[in-house]
Assembly symmetry: C2
Homo-oligomer: 428 residues x 2
Amino acid sequence: VKIQTPPGMRDYYPEDMRLQNWLFDAWRAASRSFGFQEYEGPIFEFLDLYRAKSGDEIVAQLFNFRDRGDREFAIRPEMTPTLARMVAARANALPRPIKWFSMPRMCRAEKPQRGRLREFFQWNVDTLGSDDALADAEVIATLIAFVRNVGLTSADVSVRINSRPLMSAIFAGFGVASDAVAAAFALVDRFEKLAAAEFDAQWNAALGASVQAATVRDLLTTASREDCTALALKAGAAGQAAADGFDAVLARLGDLGVAEFARFSPAIVRGLAYYTGVVFELHATAIPLRALCGGGRYDDLTSLFGGPKISGVGFGMGDAPVLEALKELGRLPTPMDTLDAFVIDADAACFQAALGVCGELRASGLTAEFSYKRQPIGKQLKQASDRRARYAVIVGAEIAVKDMTSGEQRTIARADVPAALLRHSSAR
Amino acid sequence: VKIQTPPGMRDYYPEDMRLQNWLFDAWRAASRSFGFQEYEGPIFEFLDLYRAKSGDEIVAQLFNFRDRGDREFAIRPEMTPTLARMVAARANALPRPIKWFSMPRMCRAEKPQRGRLREFFQWNVDTLGSDDALADAEVIATLIAFVRNVGLTSADVSVRINSRPLMSAIFAGFGVASDAVAAAFALVDRFEKLAAAEFDAQWNAALGASVQAATVRDLLTTASREDCTALALKAGAAGQAAADGFDAVLARLGDLGVAEFARFSPAIVRGLAYYTGVVFELHATAIPLRALCGGGRYDDLTSLFGGPKISGVGFGMGDAPVLEALKELGRLPTPMDTLDAFVIDADAACFQAALGVCGELRASGLTAEFSYKRQPIGKQLKQASDRRARYAVIVGAEIAVKDMTSGEQRTIARADVPAALLRHSSAR
């Protein structure tokens, strides 16, 4: 039986896994430097967890199944419900602010087609239990720490940022009824993907002609932050509070040294209903329309799952979009498999001694291998080179250590070999 | 809605995740020191992949489901079929020996009850494409490298080891028909969990009375390796080859410095049908009957999945049994969440400057936090201590760095702060 990889799923051969681990390490390093703590959850949850957040429509997008006890489960399509469930369960015991990150594997029942993955990993960073603008700014600065760690600058990417309360105030000023704001946001979220005529038609259908679609298009395309602040202030106290809150976040981005990445973008509102504050997306300058990451502030996710109301701010970044973007930008590394040492027997009679030396190197935390085949030194040196060993350790009557880069070779007393290699290696 | 963690699944709060990452790091370090390369596969596979290996009975033990295209999938219950599929797909391109490891998440549809997990992680280490006894010995030595890394000695654990060809030869000498050997192995695999009378009854039922069950019980309980070799040699050339092959593996365990852990155990044969050579289990001396790990040599896994026949040797170790055993042995660490630095403002007017210093520390790769609340230095120092910061960095008219362990405090020029902390930290 020849059985394939399931459609939309990925095999990680060692070269793929090295790249994936490189990404995981970069995500983890950025999160940890900001003091975020790692958490994880189960690969599947009760189906009701997703129904509670997203309604029955979500079910068709999930891989779901029943156990023999007829309980309904679904493989997680996102981490937010798990995060909310976990925080709700220990709401009173967890010290605030709760600064957590995760890099979960998840699945969505996409129709299998080229480029549409059914399985992916997603970096999630969230701070819960603080309404301070510092929380919003730290989450965004963590994203930028990752961006900088992988070698990107503010010329390559920007954080397109906006405030939902600010936009709500502006729409109120325009005369959009408060119960129609959600519909307006849903349309704004698709604005950049729609032709003008199409946007106008949908706007008129959803919101009537009381607010000119052309006015909204102008706002989304050309309004500066000053324009938007001025418009919001027309809505009175709510507009003032929205403008002040947004200003505070932008000021903290400056304090944290990442202001150069932030770009005010009135067309960014995000599609999810639960955002109630700042919203943002990471975009590569050279790759328009495709967000590499999205996030924002929410007033309450936890009470939906049986806990007290806890506000928070966070984002999610999928692995596939960011790896593709790095590739397109020519910034994708090719992590190589390397060894600290390749141990060689000068002749077959020395092989047992070579194994002993290899064992000592490994016990010191160094990575070391040897040839399974007894063969001349030259062939073993070729293997050492193929395996990208930093040193060849040649075990004969005495022990010679050859630096595989410089070609330099010197004799070392057997007892000193591990220490000598450790000194020159990036061993853990 | 109060929704629970699904039965048999685990939430990893930060303290749980630190322990889990400690285990993953120990698995990964041992694997890498021996030159094994990491791979991964999809969380679910075509259901037929498991049917191909284990028949229809396996289906009830899996979480399986269909997509809208009516394809049948199952969440992976083990890694071996994925490994075999991946190796088979690139059999001709992969340099031999293929030395791979993985730490996959997997699920089994266990009946939910106390201590029975439906989801777990399993360390898999395999060498394919070599029949050399070095391959068997290296895989076992990798297991021992992990054991030693987590602080266990040969007084705590042993590798109970046996050879299926040796046992086949002995059974042949006893007069067990060759088509009955598999049934004999299945019974031997349960020998230590059965009372003598029960074993005898099952042996007689399965294998008839031609071979005395008591003779077999004696063999499994008391026979030394010399006894077993002598018995195997009675079966002629096959017995000789079996004894020689087993001797070669044991000798290589000596060469790799792990002989002290190996304990010959005729009752260890493993339950899986595909083992064809050496078989072994890791056991804690103080916790009998519960294997922490099982493995062995197999002639062929790949041709089952459409590839050429490739032999190999490997093992799997679940996370839960090993963590439980370490706990029972009092060797489980409590990894703590720590920070390199906690940055403190001497008064609120210095907070912006403090954020700038914090940003520089983070950019240097250090982990750093600050208080979201403006409050007196004493309260911030208390927070630094609660967060287990190594240093408190107090930003005022000048910058003071306080070593939180010794209490020693000194003034440092702002430009020198990151370098000073890096010098004294275990930063990545």
